[in-house]
């Protein structure tokens, strides 16, 4: 029933979706790594950013969503740092519930703000390349899916370079590994955390902006993606960026190929992410990577 080209199509779908999933999870992983909090405002940031990109696209500027996402990321870098200074900073050392609920409150405010500014209608952006495809024989690949995929790869490389090779990046890594000793060796952890939260928000905003290439959105946008991102960073071991990419690939492959299961209902697809989230937490506290490492040690 499935011709080789259809199966190849599924593989391509899974890979492209993985890129998208990874892109929308980097910010979450970065923030978790540095300050051990889960940014529940992530969905709100993605949604607001989608509307910012829409506005940049609709006004006289007619900015392309990709460029718009860069502008929006810069904007949310500043907003994220502001949010950290004003609020998040105060709950870093409180029980985890405090930061979760604080950021949930921010998400509620973001939703309401979007209603007030843009209204509640479903919005979408059309670009000149919305329906453009790259044809590989029988296989058609949409440009609007290739763009986020490649950006995701570039972002992974750039972030890895940034964390490994720049002073600021090294400081971020130091804080994320051990905040106390980082402070002892003179890292200004407050400043580092501020920048890391700004960067995390910028990454969320960047992803949110790029999602407009593919999806329509309204002020409720982002919730499901946020839960998938949780599953991805947990699968990836919560802190490492390559781990995030790995988690994204696993989730995307499982989701894409689930339709081959006889009798499978497509509407069950989100069950996969949620049950993988729970299973990974309970069975694989270090993420999939730890499984591979353990294997490596045994051999």
């Amino acid at each position: 029933m499935y011709e080789p080209s259809a199966l190849a199509g599924l593989v391509v779908t899974a890979v492209l979706t993985a890129g998208l999933y990874a892109l929308m999870s980097y910010g979450l992983a970065l923030v978790y790594g540095v300050m051990k909090i889960i940014n529940l405002a992530h969905a709100g940031t993605m949604m607001l950013s989608a509307f910012v990109v829409l506005s940049l696209n609709r006004t006289a500027l007619h900015l392309d969503p990709v460029l718009g996402s860069i502008v929006s990321a810069a904007l949310f870098f500043l907003l994220g740092m502001g949010l950290y200074r004003v609020a998040v900073r105060r709950v870093i050392n409180a029980p985890p519930i405090a930061s979760l609920l604080l950021l949930f409150g921010v998400w509620l405010c973001a939703q309401n703000l979007a209603y007030l500014i843009w209204g509640s209608e479903d919005q979408s952006i059309v670009t000149p390349y919305t329906f453009t495809t790259v044809d590989l024989g029988d296989l058609k690949i949409a440009v609007s899916r290739l763009i986020p995929f490649f950006i995701s790869l570039v972002a992974l490389a750039a972030l890895t370079w940034f964390l490994r090779s720049t002073d600021l990046g090294k400081a971020i890594r130091a804080v994320s590994q051990n905040a106390m000793s980082a402070r002892l060796v003179g890292v200004r952890s407050e400043r580092v955390a501020t920048i890391a939260f700004g960067l995390g928000s910028a990454l969320s905003a960047f992803a949110g902006g790029l999602l407009t290439l593919l999806f329509s959105f309204n002020p409720d946008f982002g919730g499901t993606f946020q839960l998938k991102s949780f599953a991805i960073i947990v699968l990836g071991g919560l802190e490492s960026l390559p781990g995030v990419a790995l988690g994204a690939v696993v989730l995307a492959v499982v989701e894409s190929f689930s339709i081959l299961i006889p009798g499978w209902r497509g509407s069950l697809v989100n069950l996969l992410a949620f049950s993988m989230l729970v299973a990974a937490l309970v069975l694989l506290p270090g993420g999939i990577a730890s499984l591979l490492e353990r294997r490596g040690q045994n051999e």
């Binding site: 011709e3 599924l10 779908t13 509640s120 059309v126 949409a142 999806f215 959105f217 689930s258």
Partner: protein, 417 residues
């Protein structure tokens, strides 16, 4: 100890609550009702949350119908012209809130009649209230056939149910098969949203295929999640099914995303429909020429050529500077049916209005056929009109052929012959 302090506060709090409760509703109690000087109409709509876009259309439509009546001096009730006060509350698309706010309208605002909410699940949450308080409700936002199977006496719908959308689509396809324009039997790939809406549609399509295997075979029957976001795996399955026709039932955001991905994957079928989606302006803007030739089954469309629909479209455009869609038209019809029922009853008594509505034949309606009446379960005896998108943002009426201005559809779709 803190417990002590709280315990001491509690009776005071309770007394205060008890004291202010009746004060908050001075109209309560058993005193004889004064002669009514106004008609209180209540509605609970999703003005925020998941269904807010449609909820706001309904709000505007209820308001327009009410303003028109009030502007003309009021509604005739037993020879007296009464002004209508419309009270609309927001349930935030949440079923619990929806239900309790309708109860609040019934018990505290003491509304005379209720207009319904939007989306089947919210209507289902509300539908216990009309019968419990004997306050009639007309709703134009819930289309699942299950609504009319619960034995309500005070609930009336204006929205033809979704199983009939499936039925009219299958009748349409059968006609084109018999014309020799579509293969017989037609291989159908069916994708349905896992909601009440989608399940009604799926059931109707499957039933038609089972009853008439010489015309239809369903080669794929797959569900997807509301706001499901990524449909590529599903569409890969559709591609592998090698069907002649693609039938999907989706809400607007899923319609846009799914049909974009459909087009990007290079899928083609001799017939494509997304249920009630197709001519929506939002959809056409988002899909541009990819939306051309899609066929839709609708409760109403601005393409309808009858005088009433034309006038409504013009009025709406002048007032809200937007082209109305079926939501607005059905909201407008819903309120007007209720007002016609009140006038027919000649009284604000709930039972009398109920009886009037049950026997009402409303003739100025916008829906196809321009008539609304109800069967014994409160289900409307109305139908759909089918449209086909044409290039340059035009919409053709294509079915039933009896509808004013109907033209033959372009079947099979261009480029698939």
């Amino acid at each position: 100890m803190n417990v002590i302090r709280i315990a001491r506060l509690l009776p005071a709090l309770v007394l205060a609550l008890g004291a202010c409760a009746p004060a908050g509703a001075p109209s309560g109690g058993g005193s004889a009702a004064p002669a009514a000087s106004e008609i209180k109409v209540g509605a609970v709509l999703p003005l925020t949350g998941a269904f807010s876009a449609s909820g706001n259309y309904f709000q505007q439509a209820y308001q327009l119908a009410t303003d028109e009546v009030n502007g003309a001096g009021g509604l005739d009730v037993g020879g007296k012209k009464l002004q209508i006060t419309l009270k609309i509350l927001d349930d935030g698309s949440d079923t619990t809130k929806s239900r309790s706010l309708v109860e609040q309208l019934a018990t505290q605002e003491k509304v005379n009649v209720l207009l319904g909410g939007y989306d089947t699940t919210l209507v289902q949450a509300q539908q216990g209230v009309p019968d419990q308080y004997k306050i009639p409700m007309v709703e134009g936002g819930g289309a699942a056939s299950a609504i009319f199977t619960r034995g309500n006496k005070y609930l009336f719908g204006t929205l033809a149910t979704i199983d009939d959308l499936g039925n009219i689509t299958m009748d349409f396809l059968k006609y084109w098969e018999d014309q020799g324009k579509l293969p017989k039997p037609l291989k159908i790939a069916l994708a349905w949203e896992n909601t009440d809406h989608g399940k009604d549609y799926q059931a109707a399509v499957n039933k038609a295929a089972k009853d008439d295997p010489s015309h239809f075979t369903v080669v794929l029957d797959q569900s997807f999640d509301l706001n499901g976001s990524d449909f590529t795996p599903l569409l890969t399955q559709v591609k592998a099914a090698n069907a002649d026709a693609f039938l999907s039932d989706a809400h607007l955001p899923d319609f846009i995303t799914m049909h974009r991905q459909y087009t990007q994957l290079g899928l083609k079928h001799k017939f494509v429909t997304y249920g009630a989606r197709g001519p929506d302006q939002k959809g056409r803007e988002a899909l541009t020429s990819a939306a051309d030739y899609l066929v839709a089954g609708l409760w109403w469309t601005p393409a309808l050529a009858d005088a009433g629909s034309k006038k409504f479209t013009d009025t709406w455009k002048a007032k809200y500077n937007a082209t109305p869609d079926w939501f607005q038209a059905l909201g407008y019809d819903t309120a007007r049916v209720m007002y016609a029922g009140i006038t027919k009853a000649g009284s604000l008594d709930g039972d009398k209005i109920r009886d009037a509505l049950a026997g009402l034949e409303f003739t100025g309606a916008l829906v196809p056929g321009n008539k609304i009446s109800f069967d014994a379960t409160g289900k409307p005896k109305t139908s759909y009109v089918m449209t086909q998108n044409l290039p340059n943002n035009e919409v053709a009426l294509v079915w039933p052929s009896s509808v004013e201005g109907a033209k033959p559809a372009t079947i099979p779709l261009p480029g698939t012959g």
